[in-house]
């Protein structure tokens, strides 16, 4: 067995050599800590994105001009500029504008992905609401529902079905995008892995394990997306 291993070149030297794997696994706690930060940022960020996305989405589907315009500007800004520069603004520009105001990196991560994906979710929600059709809203309004009430009880529940697959898809993207905080020393999974890999040069094994951990976080949601999509197709 040992001879067999000795005969496999790439396990002896190069980016995937056995000693590199050993070094990684004796320091694996570093990655767990990072993964926890990623999970925290992702779950809080998702909550924020859903809340913001719903509000902005309802605004952009509304018949009031000002909220609609505001929603449009919000969505266009966040969808057309990189998340990285938004995060940089929060990290470096805010303390320059308001000296002493240091938003913690984790909070930046939550706000960063929350507001960015909030814009995408808003578009999903808007499309969902508009797919229901004006007639239903008018019918509800004529039955004495307020606008908010009609949304709450008539439109949104129906829209949910159409909206859910792209929504879970956004959740997957959100988890993946939490990795940008690695660039601002965010202490997340990507940062932890990159910092470890950079210090000792063990890029190969580290990236494999980091990749697997991201995959494990995203895959269940991605499967859920697929299931919901299939169910919608069948319906």
């Amino acid at each position: 067995m040992t001879e067999l291993i000795a005969g496999i070149g790439f396990l002896q030297e190069g980016p995937f050599a056995i000693p590199r794997w050993e070094a990684l696994f004796s320091n694996i706690d570093v990655l767990w800590a990072g993964a926890l930060v990623t999970l925290l940022v992702a779950s809080l960020g998702l909550a924020m994105a859903l809340a913001l996305g719903t509000v902005i989405g309802v605004m952009s589907a509304s018949h009031w001009r000002i909220p609609r315009a505001f929603a449009r500007v919000y969505v266009e800004f966040y969808q057309n500029t990189p998340l990285l520069i938004q995060v940089f603004m929060l990290y470096n520009a805010i303390p320059l504008i308001y000296p002493g105001l240091f938003i913690p990196v984790i909070v930046i991560g939550v706000f960063g992905v929350g507001m960015y994906h909030g814009a995408y979710i808003a578009e999903v929600v808007r499309a969902g609401i508009q797919s229901i059709g004006r007639g239903q809203l008018e019918a509800a309004l004529s039955q004495g529902f307020t606008y908010v009430g009609a949304m709450r009880f008539i439109i949104i529940p129906q829209a949910m079905r159409i909206v859910l697959p792209p929504l879970t898809n956004q959740a997957v993207n959100l988890i993946k995008n939490t990795s940008v905080i690695a660039i601002i020393a965010g202490g997340d999974l990507m940062y932890a892995g990159d910092s470890f890999a950079g210090r000792y040069g063990h890029y190969g094994p580290t990236y494999v394990v980091v990749g697997l951990l991201y995959f494990l976080m995203c895959f269940p949601l991605a499967r859920l997306t697929r299931r919901l999509e299939d169910r919608m197709m069948a319906a």
Binding site: T81, P82, I85, A93, I97, V172, K176, S179, I183, M233
Partner: protein
């Protein structure tokens, strides 16, 4: 007006630096968009085909890659595959975007009812003719928003290349922020960079929206 910002804005080095950065940003994103379109179409059709091995390969690729962060794929291309920074960014972005495009293509093809195929074939259309005249036009129109949105994402995500020291727009801006270090100057640089990205991406989105409306009208009402 000799404020630090005016001083910086009148220095050609700022524009040369950002201009070079923008050039690399465009180079990385345009190339990966083109490559992703080719590979995405191939992989998407492979999955759609349902042919045993091909579709399994495609499914595995898509399911694996789309659950990984783009940044990770760029870092792997650079540190493990050992590509030069610009190529690492291009390839990393291509690996990711191809998987997403593939899913969009498959979804679009899936949305065409089997009946349309049968109708076209029964009218004596060949496979390619049915594709060209019956199946592709409505599905492509439906795919435009998703594909363009993914291209815009590719342009935005090319900024991750700064993590591997590629001198694209974001990194160039950060370097210039060391030369122009006064708070007002740094903030101005960030705002300028945001605006550059916004103008490019917003223009692309608008053109795509126009195109879709025009195509839909041309063909009568398609989709809903």
């Amino acid at each position: 007006m000799n404020t630090p910002v005016m001083l910086m804005l009148s220095d050609p080095v700022l524009y040369i630096g950002l201009g070079r950065g923008l050039l690399l940003t465009l180079q990385i994103s345009v190339m990966s968009i083109a490559l992703s379109f080719v590979f995405g179409t191939i992989i998407g059709s492979m999955r759609y085909s349902g042919l045993p091995v091909l579709s399994q390969i495609a499914t595995t690729y898509i399911e694996f890659i789309r659950n990984l962060p783009t940044l990770l794929l760029i870092l792997v291309s650079y540190f493990v595959l050992g590509l030069p920074a610009m190529w690492a960014a291009t390839i990393g972005l291509t690996i990711y975007t191809s998987a997403i495009i593939a899913e969009i293509i498959r979804g679009g093809l899936n949305s065409v009812p089997e009946g349309q195929w049968e109708a076209a074939r029964s009218q004596g259309f060949s496979f390619l003719q049915s594709m060209r005249y019956i199946v592709l036009p409505p599905s492509v129109v439906k795919m435009i928003p998703a594909i363009v949105s993914q291209f815009v994402t590719a342009i935005k995500d090319s900024s991750f290349a700064m993590a591997i020291g590629a001198y694209e727009l974001m990194f160039k801006g950060t370097i210039l922020a060391a030369k122009y270090w006064k708070p007002s100057q740094i903030i101005t640089i960030y705002v300028v960079i945001s605006m550059v990205y916004f103008v490019i991406n917003f223009t692309i989105s608008m053109i795509a929206r126009r195109l879709q409306t025009k195509l839909s009208i041309g063909r009568g009402s398609i989709g809903s």
